[in-house]
């Protein structure tokens, strides 16, 4: 039975896509079968695998709108155990369209149901907002990973994010426990990063929620997407690739506890 994990944070640029892509790639390298679902109209997770967004025959929007089955929209990547449900700007129309449906919040969960058992992990990349696409991501997921950039605005957004998670749990009866918080773009030389890290620990209380693995700023993570390959393929020895492999191992270990 596959575990569906949504990578969520409405703050822009905090490393959601970089985490979704490199965590999915690392899990597949560790022998897990993984489906990466790009639920961001920007399609950054899709282009991170060298896929031409404009020329896609099928994508997550054509599957959601019923033009094609989800199985037909899934494509393989250069990694053996890793598949992707790609997206492009066509997905941006879905928020207004879904808002007219009664069960607008179950659309993604229902779409993924036929393929959930084929994979060990289903990783969902979400856009920087708390709208209907993100609500769908919350309802479809079994658990959440929250990437937090160690900067001030990230702290500001935590209350809005946890409020939304709690609302979905109460009103839509769809709990998604937080699997973990991962510090991203971490620059240990700055006082700001350390201060924010301390505040994040205070905010989330018991330590079990914060991954021990911290993802430092590493230029190889930012370069890899321009070559259309995940960092573990672009530069396996880089600090960035090794951090995400470590995060993947920490994630798998936490399942066995």
């Amino acid at each position: 039975m596959g575990e569906t994990i949504a990578i969520i944070n409405q703050k822009g640029g905090c490393g959601k896509t970089t985490t979704a892509v490199n965590l999915a790639a690392s899990l597949s390298k560790l022998g897990k079968s993984v489906l990466l679902i790009d639920m961001d109209p920007q399609g950054n997770a899709t282009t991170s695998f060298g896929i031409n967004k404009q020329e896609l025959e099928n994508n997550v929007y054509s599957a959601i709108s019923g033009q094609v089955s989800v199985k037909k929209a899934i494509i393989s990547t250069m990694l053996e155990n890793l598949f992707i449900l790609p997206s492009n700007i066509s997905l941006s129309g879905v928020e207004v369209e879904l808002s007219k449906l009664d069960n607008y919040h179950l659309v993604l969960k229902d779409l993924l149901a036929p393929v959930k058992d084929i994979f060990d992990y289903l990783i969902i990349d979400l856009p920087p907002s708390l709208g209907i696409i993100t609500i769908n991501g919350l309802v479809a997921s079994d658990s959440l990973i929250i990437p937090i950039q160690a900067e001030y605005f990230a702290l500001e957004g935590l209350a809005d994010l946890t409020n939304t998670i709690n609302l979905v749990e109460e009103r839509l009866r769809s709990p998604s426990p937080i699997k973990g918080i991962v510090l991203t773009l971490y620059d240990s030389r700055t006082r700001l990063a350390k201060e924010v890290y301390i505040e994040v620990k205070k905010y989330f209380g018991d330590k079990k929620n914060i991954f021990k693995t911290v993802i430092s700023r590493n230029i190889r993570l930012a370069e890899a997407p321009s070559y259309g390959i995940p960092c573990i393929v672009y530069d396996e020895e880089s600090r960035g690739a090794r951090s995400y492999l470590k995060l993947a191992k920490e994630l798998i270990d936490s399942e066995n506890e």
Copy 2:
């Protein structure tokens, strides 16, 4: 007659709020009267001035929904010539509400009409999306400034952004010329930054659209919001504060050409 400038880019974390806040503060230091409009439900521009988002009596949403006049929702800041129309998470409900109106795209333009002539500049901070709030920002503005982080995903998003700008111009008959592109979070030590800069110049063709001022990465810009003051107040001598002052001067000079 005030000029309304929207700071726009759907890519998250590219420096929209940092540019809106520090450009507005710099223009006010140069003697211009400025209104900063926070159209992002995250409310980062609002908290950049030490304003408690949760305790706000009035905000841009209460003005848009007609509970209070726009004049009553505007508050002063620590800078003499700078005022702000603040926001908080209450704004996130507006996209679905406005989608039901025929003139959904004119709401912000009509809201600002009574105050447009009171200021020299009205600067609009927008969220990381191309939804109804951003469309309102495009229609309400006379011109646009596009902050671009010198990284790969920023290039990916340019086509979607310029398509949206052109659509609003043709379908909603509301042209907003691009006043300029500003490179943000620029790290001149990396090859990636230089490569992206070259690609951006290729994409936008004639040089006149790209501001000569490049905003380098400078930790003081990221620290200032945690003290609730713009960088020019937090550390006037910092590279970050000086870059935005230079950008403000370049903007004013371009008006006089």
